[in-house]
């Protein structure tokens, strides 16, 4: 068990290394340099030269790379030139917002998907099953930004049930109950949108898993012993079918990360995805490189999590 985890962890290192080189090269190609905004036409050319020398931009690229990666490992990604502050603390603040949004989304996602998947599997080929299939098909086909905008239009602007942007009302003091409530209130609409978009995979997997399990011998044995149908489902079928769903968790997190770029931009939610889009527009490349690196790391972590859960759930796939 531990061997598997350690091995998977070691496999991440070369992938992160290649990703960091790719990002470093891309950062070198990005237009502008770290002094954009600091330099005016009146700045003395020798001053610019001095700044360049001090930032180490005249060194060969591999030395610059080693310096960059050494700092990045310690959590120092430099300064953001639009926000005029430390990138790490800037991202840390946004990451917390994204974390709460993703957390609520995952809970809602499973709260929607598991009952629907179980019902569709249990009443296979019924009208309910067909409705669920249509629902999951619809959410699979609809692009993230279209659904988000339509929801924002209907629930945010027309019905005015939810706020249309931001993560908290400014009138509340941090730490008070009203503040927490306002935060939660701002998260609900993006989280629901997020959750609905992610349900397809879990529903379809759970449904087919239950349909397959229904036909197995142990279920027939349980039935012939005279166990009531309700119990056969709750104790025998669902327990067996839910195990592989647990492994979906890691992939769900990975999927949510990609979607956060759209969701946060549309709902004006100040998380990492929105920060990424605004940094791209303002060419704030110390933020961009840090975010791409972080997302790459989290994606790897998500697939690692899936593998670990999988190996706990299903001992057959453990690496010896």
């Amino acid at each position: 068990m531990w061997k598997t985890i350690v091995r998977r962890f070691l496999l991440m290192i070369p992938q992160l290394f290649v990703l960091s080189i790719l990002i470093f090269i891309l950062a070198k190609f990005m237009p502008g340099d770290p002094f954009t905004g600091l330099i005016t036409p009146e700045t003395d050319p020798s001053r610019i030269e001095e700044l360049t020398e001090k930032a180490g931009l005249n060194d060969p690229w591999h030395i610059q790379y080693v310096r960059w990666i050494a700092r990045a490992v310690q959590g120092d990604f430099g300064m953001s030139y639009t926000f005029k502050r430390d990138v790490a603390s800037l991202i840390g603040e946004r990451a917390l917002n994204t974390f709460w949004l993703s957390f609520l989304s995952v809970i809602l996602l499973y709260a929607i998907a598991i009952p629907l998947g179980i019902l569709a599997g249990r009443y296979h080929n019924s009208r309910l099953d067909k409705t669920v299939i249509f629902y999951s098909f619809f959410t699979y086909a609809i692009p993230t930004f279209v659904l988000s905008l339509v929801f924002l239009y209907i629930f945010g602007y027309k019905l005015e049930w939810f706020p249309t942007s931001g993560s908290v009302d400014i009138k509340y003091e941090p730490g008070t109950l009203g503040y927490i409530w306002s935060k939660g209130y701002h998260i609900i609409l993006p989280a629901i949108t997020y959750a609905i978009l992610g349900t397809t995979g879990v529903i379809q997997y759970l449904r087919s898993e239950i349909i397959d399990t229904k036909a197995m011998d142990f279920v027939r044995t349980a039935r012939s012993k005279g166990i009531p149908t309700r119990k056969v489902y709750s104790k025998h079928i669902i327990r067996n079918s839910l195990l592989p769903i647990a492994a979906f968790l890691g992939f769900t997190i990975t999927g949510l990360l990609g979607g956060s770029i759209f969701i946060e931009t549309i709902f004006g939610y100040p998380g990492m995805g929105q920060l990424f889009v605004s940094s791209i527009s303002s060419r704030d490349y110390s933020v961009i490189t840090a975010l791409v690196m972080l997302y790459g790391f989290l994606t790897l972590l998500g697939s690692l999590l899936s593998d670990i859960i999988m190996s706990i759930v299903d001992p057959r796939i453990r690496i010896e």
């Binding site: 990703l19 990005m30 098909f137 997302y295």
Partner: protein, 300 residues
């Protein structure tokens, strides 16, 4: 003798071939049939409209007096901030989206199938190499990297956009084809052909590839839908087509302005619905094709 043989042939029942299976499947599934017909109609209409009827230069000309004109006789679906006709922009934008999505599907399809065939059939170091590359592509945040690429490419145009997208999107097809070729190349017919001394190239192209055709068609159709989604999504964020080119995503992105989303629904809603319906239709066709590729799931 000859006569008897002919009669026999007439009554012989053969299993339905690929096209017949697909046709039967579509005849059974009314929604898929409807989706297919409307999709073809819309694509043809959009292309005729974009190439023969609409003058693109006149379309993108700004006329301030028609600022946010309401839907009326002059502007069937109203106009945007610059007084540009929405309906015409949707038509031209849809044409651009379809062309881009098709080019990406073709490029990634051809490259993915090629890599998949080679890796699955030959295995060995080349397979190892490509699988490592594909593993890498799966674990990177590709949407972010596409955006970064888009912003740093000098002389950005539609073709560079297609190229950047293709760079990141070929891996799915390659993986699928590889796994199918892997199981196919263990079959008896391939072994028999090898024993007969058939050239590897001939085995791959003439014997294995036809057996994968149905899966490949399904994969390409669903990829096409996915690519339409990604292209319009990126254009929506402002990292897709250049702003001077009419695009569905750009039209939807007008909704980022709170005033537009609340009061000028005709600017963004029709384009959103168009994207939604197009995606649904392509996916329906794709699902019907998928069912006809798998005999256990068929309706017809």
């Amino acid at each position: 003798m000859n006569k008897k043989y002919k009669r026999k042939k007439k009554y012989k029942s053969s299993p339905p071939t690929g096209i017949q299976v697909i046709f039967r499947e579509f005849r059974k599934d009314k929604i898929a049939m409807f989706s297919f017909i409307s999709l073809v109609t819309v694509i043809v209409a959009v292309f005729i409209g974009a190439y023969f009827i609409i003058d693109q230069e006149a379309l993108m000309r700004i006329s301030l007096k028609d600022n946010y004109a309401e839907p009326s006789g002059k502007f069937l679906l109203g106009a945007d901030q610059g007084g540009k006709d929405i309906l015409r922009q949707i038509i031209v934008g849809a044409k651009n989206s379809i062309i881009i999505a098709m080019s990406i599907t073709l490029i990634t399809g051809i490259f993915g199938i090629f890599v998949g065939l080679i890796c699955g059939y030959f295995g060995g170091w080349i397979d190892n190499l490509f699988m490592r590359i594909i593993d890498f592509f799966i674990t990177i945040p590709s949407l972010m990297l596409i955006i970064v690429f888009v912003t740093i490419v000098p002389k950005y145009s539609i073709s560079s956009f297609v190229f950047i997208m293709s760079l990141f999107l070929w891996t799915g097809t390659a993986r699928l084809v590889r796994s199918k070729v892997l199981s196919e190349s263990k079959r008896d017919y391939v072994q028999a052909s090898k024993t007969l001394g058939t050239n590897d190239f001939v085995i791959i192209v003439r014997e294995i590839l036809p057996n994968l055709s149905s899966i490949i068609i399904v994969e390409l159709t669903l990829n096409f839908a996915g690519n339409v989604g990604i292209e319009t999504g990126l254009s929506y964020l402002g990292f897709g087509l250049p702003p001077t080119t009419p695009s569905l995503g750009t039209l939807v992105s007008h909704a980022n302005n709170p005033l537009v989303i609340q009061q000028y629904w005709w600017v963004w809603l029709p384009a959103s619905l168009f994207i939604l319906l197009m995606m649904l239709a392509i996916n329906y066709v794709g699902q019907a094709l998928r069912r006809s590729a798998d005999s256990r799931q068929r309706f017809g």
